[in-house]
Symmetry: C2
DNA sequence: GAAAGTTGATATTTATAAATATCAACAATT
DNA sequence: AATTGTTGATATTTATAAATATCAACTTTC
């Protein structure tokens, strides 16, 4: 059992997750296809959602329904997360990394080959995990400020 | 004549700006009401748009129409600009500054009283002026990184 | 003085994002 | 064996953001 992340256990199948969130199974798949979430997969390639995954989806829905931010808007906002600083990747990595260069997709939706992230499991990456909560992005930006 | 910003001269009245951008006068006012743009006003309180203002609006329209980012999404993205770092405001300023704390409005749409920005003309502020171009926000974030 | 601007309020149109509902063919779970 | 999941493609519905079109009363510009 993971003491630090007791709510990160992927225990809910997609149908249960959809019921708990009061949305359709298809909507969950759509968010995944858009790159907003990366649920764990079982050995049999079935999606498994954790409590934190559900919180993340709830945040996304709040952004869409209450704050009226479009999915592409959310993707752009995620793309501004200073992953290079959180990961501490090299400047060599950065020059060829689409996640560093681009500003329309979250870093975890890129393959970014030939970087330290190439073989990283984004679902387990702190860049992904630290943004499960809404409004976290600006705090991450504040944290990299020089002064 | 301003050598550094030859295209910052507010020379176009709203009707001309609307014609050049191929949009309606009302849409320009709407963007202003939403806090996306801050055109200069003449002594008689008439709007006057510069070449850079037109570029800014063109960027906004590209974000809306091509990148499918909603107006609230654009506002949120603008709110992530590290104004505190660009301005270099004090930590006392920051603790009470809504622009620093919040993440739904661009800093220039706040009054933020009792800060160094209180009497600043946001239209002339580099935080506003440096973001006339699309995709500039992430570059500003990169610039404040420690390493 | 005529033209073009202003505020601000409201109402309507248009375009489309978001969500849902379908398929079919198949795999994993219990 | 029955249930629940998978991919992926397409089609439709629904909700609403964005834009336009109106007003009226007034001000500034040319």
């Amino acid at each position: 059992m993971n003491i630090d992340f007791p709510n990160s256990e992927p225990v809910f199948p997609i149908s249960t997750a959809a019921k708990l969130l009061n949305i359709s199974v298809h909507t969950l798949r759509m968010y995944e296809k858009e790159g907003l979430i990366i649920p764990k997969k079982t050995e049999g390639n079935q999606r498994a959602y954790s409590q934190k995954d559900l919180e993340r989806v709830a945040c996304i829905r709040k952004a869409i329904n209450e704050h009226k931010i479009s999915i592409n808007g959310i993707k752009t906002i995620y793309s501004l997360i200073p992953c290079w600083n959180i990961i501490g990747c090299s400047s060599e990595d950065r020059v060829n990394c689409q996640a560093y260069i681009g500003h329309s997709q979250p870093c975890w939706s890129y393959k970014h080959p030939n970087t330290t992230c190439e073989h990283r499991d984004c679902n387990q990456c702190s860049v992904y995990k630290e943004t499960f909560n809404c409004g976290q992005v600006k705090d991450l930006i504040k944290n990299i400020a020089k002064d």
